[in-house]
Amino acid sequence: MPLVGIVDYGAGNLDSVARAVEYCGGKPLVTETPKDLRTATHIILPGVGSFAVGMKNLRMRGYEDELNEQVRVKKVPFLGICLGMQFLATLGTEPVDTPGLGWINGKVIRFITSSSDEKVPHMGWNSVEPVKASTLLNGIEAGKDFYFVHSYHFAANNPADILMTTPYCGGFASAVARENIFGVQFHPEKSQKAGFQILKNFLAF
């Protein structure tokens, strides 16, 4: 059974992620210290809140080095959810410029609405469009809906890193992927069956 390290850096509720992992056949391990990640077969980095505060907490608690070791060196499969995906970027801008983990080139920027029907935060169910093949997308057809809550989005420098897009404010990257590193802007743990499918695919990676 996959042992899934869920990084707890003080960013609120991890129960729903842990329960969803359990539901999908994994054993959740909510970390107390960075060392806990060493036994994990998979790592999930959840997150809500602002980029600057989250990154600061992640660094203060010593997770950055451990994550670099496990994910970049040892190639443990990694899934960033929402803010956890945004941390993959080189730079965050919420509310001030803050360096991210820098695993996937890009910048996290605020949505610019193109019509009065588009509200920020982008909140609610919206569809995804896969743009490249990946294990993560097994059984996920174009047009499936996932649950989103965010005001900033990942602007990837290299289009090859984009896994899925979502039509909002001109379209944005709703998932990114490179090797063993995945990030999803939506909340699989709140997206019912389609969300579970993503988590199952991740656990099978």
């Binding site: 729903s16 809500v48 509200k119 935060p121 057809e141 649950y147 809550v149 005001s151 579970f196």
Partner: protein, 252 residues
Amino acid sequence: MPTMLYKNLTLVKGVGFDSWRRVGSIMQQVKVYNLREVDELVVLDITATQEERTPDFRLVDDFADECFMPLTVGGGITKIDDIRLLLQVGADKVAINSAAVAKPNLIAEGARLFGSQCIVVSIDFKKRTDGRYEVYTHSGTKPTGLDPVEFAREVEALGAGEILLTSIDRDGTFTGYDVELTRCVVDEVKIPVIASGGAGNYQHMIDVIQNGRASAVAAASIFHFTECTPNEAKKALEQSSIVVRHPNQEYR
């Protein structure tokens, strides 16, 4: 999205925020809505504020365990710690009603600490005899003298991420949403407005979305007391060219 009101552990529903009727067990209904894959769930403790109780965090924890969808929780929230604890036990958003009037700073502080996206301000209103609208708090028992449109603008400026706008007059009457006031509020704010109170059929939902320009609709009685279901409602909306999410995904 279905709204569920509860007193103690009992799911209830009233008319005009009064004459509460028992509908069943709240926990059981949460499970049913989870199985039916509704888009979101709003759960409100209607007596917490009046009884000066804090939210029942353990109960919300139990709800969240059964709920793999967005969950909004309200009732009895008066301080930052209430919000923090509710989010910790698994609420995705909190709905603030009485405290939004009494302590507007709670909205600003909550939005700053946890993000606007999880701060829903629930505005309950009545139409006065002179034709003007007024905001009420404490489960519709306390008039505030505030105008709902101006109040909506204020809470948006403070950092609210969403407004749940409920007509007390229409609540439980099956006579349709207050399209007029919904439209006035929607035109004044940029954040999503969820229309609530009065749904008696699917056409009412279509009206308040198309004419009231609400971002979403909430309903309770129609789902508790009639054959109508959230999924059927969405089918009806879709036939009127309103974009909806397809549950179960076995649609193509």
